[in-house]
Amino acid sequence: MRSLAELKKNERGIINGFKDDSLSVKLIEMGCLPGTEVSVDLIAPFGDPIAIGVSGYCLSLRKDEAACIMIED
């Protein structure tokens, strides 16, 4: 299974679950719900952080945080 960090720019995916419990609480609050579609919208100049489109807005997070979000195949 791939993580969000492995998606390329403009790629889309559906959130499947989380690898880190305490981070997942924050991510869920921010609207990253399992079953929601996400798209990688921006990647900062040195490859990190990234910005994703989720639940109708733009959320930025670091690569290692994105690595905790699993994407459905």
Partner: protein, 704 residues
Amino acid sequence: MASTDRIKIALVGNPNSGKTTLFNLLTGLNQKTGNFPGVTVDKKSGFSKLPDGTTAEIIDLPGTYSIYPKTLDEQIVQDILLDPEHSQYPDKVIVVTDASNLKRNLLLFTQIRDLGIPLVLVLNMIDVAQLKKLNIDLRGLSIDLGVKIIPTNSHSGDGIAALKEALTQPLVKSKRPFYDIYDLAPKTIDAIKTEFDLTENYRAYQYAQQSVRLNFLNDKEKERIAKIKDENGFYDVPTQSQETLGRYQFISDIVDRNVKNSRDPLKKSVSQKIDRVVTHPVFGYLIFFTVLMLIFQAIFAWAEGPMNLIEGSIAEFSGWVKGILPEGILSDLLTDGVLAGLAGVLVFIPQIAILFAFIALLEESGYMSRAVFLMDKLMRKVGLNGKSVVPLISGMACAIPAIMATRNIESWKDRLITIFVTPFMSCSARLPVYAILIGLVVPEQQVLGIFNLQGLVLQALYLLGFLAAIGSAYVMKLILKAGQKSYFIMELPGYKIPSWKNIGLTIYDKSKTFVLEAGKIIIAISIVLWVLASYGFNDNFRNAEENVRQQVGENASQEEYEVALSSYKLEHSVAGSFGKIIEPAIRPLGYDWKIGIALITSFAAREVFVGTMSTIYSIGASDDDEVTIRERLREEKNPETGGPMYTPAVAFSLMVFYAFAMQCMSTLAIVYRETKGWKWPIIQTVYMTAVAYISAFITYNIFS
């Protein structure tokens, strides 16, 4: 405390939903304490007149995504809403949401609703929602959520009258919770409800979830809760996830039912298009640095006219006062003491206004969060965090709000480093010092046709401060132990056309604070200084007339005699003696005892420098024709060389000293408050002053 008959209304909502804009609309200029533009990090209150004639106290709070705080600023919301005994516990809450992004915004709404506080729901930014082609069924939404809804546009003011009207109505508390958490932990909730005599299940549940963070509970009560949780097998994190997911399920259904999106979801929005450019590897940084350049150029080029005007008017006024008052102590104190000091403050209003206007503009437009995004990776290399960009940039205006702005940095280590290095950023109080010294030794000319040389030197000084901040951060990163892992989950809000009202209020508020706060210290110090510089207790001072008569000789004209007398008196006055005492320590930097006096007073606040210089040199000169302080400094001779005192070496050495030294009591006070102890403010003072001394020494030797 405020009188009890006045109702308190709190504004609560997600960050950037427009709470402060709404607050400004409701209160106008009736605001109590100042806050910083863009991000609200502390509560702020003001008063609003409601249609029924009553006055309500409105409280603006920092934005938060949920009732579970992740940062210190978010904590404030919880502190107030979960503690009915809190002095600012609201009678009513206005939940402000961004109508163009309802789903995420409604999570917090449902939580506050379940706490049982009477509330009204504002769908702000209704204009943005329309632009996004969202059709919102307000009636349906209101019924499904069980709350009164008011759509507003805080830019045009649409809906504000309806909101004020709604605030006068009794708001009904809903009987049933929006989302019943009872089944998640029935035993724990029952036990806490009995123990603490609570009525709402959700409140009891919050005690269980957040007991460690609730500042109003004492240790014994916290222990009690821990025990109840233990006995009933309550685990915070999984229950919280379950709660949030459960709430979202309801919210999603309701939003999908009542909000119809008639736009092609794959079409790029304007914000997305702008972001492609603004975060581009090349253009991104180019834009970032161009923006900074523009700010510096503006400070120098645009402020010039108004500054001359203010400087000229005060000199004229001072001359007029001298003319109408009988010669003597009162006239001297007023003109040389108070007015000279006041001129030092007032003249910088244009520059400070421009600086704050730019920073407000960056925040308002949404650009600031892109700068955070762009700089995160680089900042992490030196021990900072992308979010440190905001304090560092705000630090160019004033270190005090900048240090408060660090409250939204989650990691303590990142936050501490940011607090430690922010005072190195050249703040607006350094501007007066730089401006006067640059004006003295740097010729006014154009470089490469477009750049103002004085502006470039100023920019170099800002750069110097920035490099000192970065370098020090790097050193601290190596010394301090790594704390808990920090995270960086941040919304990039859509770009907004700034609200000119918000910016105007910021400029007004900040200039006023600067004049009042700085003005108070400066005038006080000017008066004290004038007294200390006009009187002395040693024999030299007492016998000044005779000694000077002997020095200048019998043939000297009356005017020569008077000039010599006043400078002789200053030298032997109390202030002069202080200056003389520290002179050996500052001689290696190129300073004399007069500058020594200014250095001493500057430890209260660095902007006092100009006022002090004005006072010293007005007293030192005897003639009463009014010349500006800059001209006076230019005329000052070095008694040893006979050349001008303010050579480039001395001026640059002074600028570097002021760039680095910790000369601001207010900053120390705020660092004390934010780090909860004297350890860090003391280390900071010693460290910064040492850096200042060494660098000024090197600079002086390079230029002389």
